[in-house]
């Protein structure tokens, strides 16, 4: 199997791209639901040996990616209900039921850190995707590399720390860039959970909508342009880096 995410391996490297990634992705899903044989896991150099029902775990971890933020926002609005004590429902009620009362809080209604509560559903929805990226990365590392490390007497921890994780730094970079720029543009989730007028959950994307709703098109377009600059500051160095790696090939 080709190295999925190693820079220079694919036309544009990283997460943007490559048929190798696509193949790894397809291979990932190929045995969905199947119980993976031990030899299979060995051959791939599974992270920690084969996992029974791996396909089931993987499919469930990843399913939130197939759901819209608006739909998941409906249930997260309920889960992140700010009522506490007698009136509590959602996660606050769950915390009471399992004896973790001190964890109760008013979530996105908190004026100072309310926006951080919005990150919880975002994490719920996106971490399966990051998992899939890293899984493809791990599966793409040739077994010879692990063998060589073990031959040289590396412990499992050292193998991960000095051999496997460094191989995955392009994957980590891609994941940070992709999730980062999605978060900068966050709109659907906030609209579904909070309200556009809520001060504590206001971000540029929401501001842009609020201006447009009050027919202040100029300000709205200005917010959009600022957002473009912020995202570009993140994306352009990344794209340049990718095309350099490609040229260096």
């Amino acid at each position: 199997m080709e190295v999925g995410f190693a820079p220079g391996d694919s036309p544009a490297g990283g997460a943007v791209v490559s048929e190798a990634d696509l193949e790894v992705g397809l291979v990932l899903a190929d045995d969905a639901g199947a119980v993976q044989g031990a030899d299979d896991g060995e051959a791939r150099g599974g992270v920690a040996g084969p996992v029974r029902f791996e396909g089931v775990f993987r499919s469930i971890y990843l399913f939130p990616m197939a759901v819209s933020f608006v739909a998941s926002g409906v249930v997260w609005r309920w889960l992140l209900n700010s009522n506490q004590g007698e009136q509590a429902s959602g996660l606050n009620r769950l915390f009471q039921m399992i004896g973790l009362d001190f964890l109760q809080n008013n979530w996105w209604n908190n004026v100072d850190v309310g926006i951080a509560a919005i990150a919880i559903p975002a994490i719920w929805q996106l971490s399966g995707y990051v998992m899939a990226l890293f899984l493809a990365g791990f599966r793409g590392i040739p077994e010879e590399l692990r063998e060589a490390g073990r031959m040289d007497g590396a412990s499992e921890w050292k193998l991960y720390r000095h051999v496997l994780f460094p191989q995955l730094s392009p994957v980590a970079l891609s994941a940070v860039i992709i999730i980062g720029h999605m978060s900068l543009k966050a709109f659907d989730l906030i609209m579904a959970i909070s309200k556009p007028a809520n001060y504590q959950t206001k971000v540029p994307a929401i501001d842009m909508y609020v201006f447009k709703s009050s027919f202040d098109y100029a300000s709205s377009a200005a917010v959009g342009a600022i957002l473009l600059v912020i995202v570009a500051a993140l994306i352009i160095p990344y794209l340049v880096h990718i095309s350099r790696t490609e040229k260096a090939k």
């Binding site: 990634d21 920690a48 939130p64 429902s89 994306i235």
Partner: protein, 297 residues
């Protein structure tokens, strides 16, 4: 997600380790821990699903905060009926919008991908990088100009506007997937067609298109899912009377002063069923699109 340190010994083949028996005993501890961690996250991921399903079957008298996490006292279908009444016109509009949007943008993407990969022209790489940037561009930055463009061009809001937008903004990702696929097509195949006198269009139509079916499946599914789940374009280019299901769902859930969670959660499930069905039936193609760097939102 399992901690590598706790589960690492599992990967050690007994033959390569001097202390095989010790590894064997730690093997089961690591294994148990691994499955416990996996199961914990499984529960975390499924909690919202439990809430959605349970609440969607609860009657109005069953909404007390104390019973928030319990199963319904009486399973009722009223919420589903209400959600269906509220969302069915929007569901139908979404289908009308998503199908042409997915088909057209896939076709454009395959043509783009072909020229960028196998029928090269000067500065093809520059063009490709620019197209890639289109994948990352915040749509908010182009929203106001797009609104004015659509208005000026006289494109009616609702389904027609949304089809055009999803086709255009689908081009980057579809081009990317097809380009990468065509890069793996042997150069000789294209050369042979060229030697036999086939032009660009002929080569594309008779040689390349027939072998593109796997990529078409990936791209169609990807475009279907992302257009179905889109909310941003829907908010700006349609209204409750002519918008897709995400907009209708948001109005249903956030429209009233006091949210009826039973109906809105039935609605959320209803609006997610098509994409979930695609995910369950054709999951591996969906992941294929996901892994090619596609971006949601």
């Amino acid at each position: 997600m399992s901690a590598p340190s706790s589960t690492a010994p599992v990967a050690v083949a007994p033959t390569t380790t001097p202390s095989a028996p010790k590894v064997r005993s730690r093997f089961s501890v690591g294994r148990t821990l691994k499955y416990l961690v996996l199961l914990f996250f499984l529960v975390v991921v499924l909690i919202p699903v439990y809430v959605l399903v349970v609440t969607s079957f609860k009657g109005p008298g069953d909404a007390a905060a104390v019973r928030a996490w319990n199963l319904p006292e009486v399973w009722v279908l009223d919420n589903w009926k209400g959600a269906w009444d509220a969302l069915s016109p929007a569901l139908w509009r979404t289908i009308q919008m998503v199908v042409p949007a997915a088909v057209i943008s896939s076709f454009l993407g395959s043509m783009n991908g072909f020229v960028l990969a196998r029928w090269r022209f000067p500065y093809a790489d520059l063009v490709f990088t620019l197209i890639l940037f289109g994948m990352f561009i915040p749509y908010q930055a182009v929203m106001i100009p797009l609104l004015q463009l659509m208005l000026g061009a006289g494109v009616p809001s609702g389904v027609p506007s949304l089809i055009i937008l999803h086709v255009i903004y689908g081009i980057p990702i579809t081009t990317l997937i097809f380009r990468n696929y065509y890069m793996s097509v042997p150069e000789e195949l294209i050369e042979a067609a060229r030697v036999d006198g086939a032009g660009m269009l002929r080569t594309f139509g008779s040689i390349v298109l027939p072998i593109s079916i796997p990529s078409f499946v990936v791209v169609l599914i990807w475009q279907f899912t992302s257009a179905w789940n889109d909310f941003l374009f829907a908010v700006f280019f349609s209204s409750s009377g002519n918008g897709p299901v995400t907009l209708a769902l948001n109005n249903l859930a956030n429209g009233a002063l006091l949210t009826n969670y039973g109906i809105s959660m039935s609605g959320a499930l209803l609006a997610s069923l098509p994409t979930l069905l695609v995910y369950v039936l054709l999951g591996k193609y969906f992941i294929g699109g996901l892994m090619s760097g596609s971006v949601k939102g």
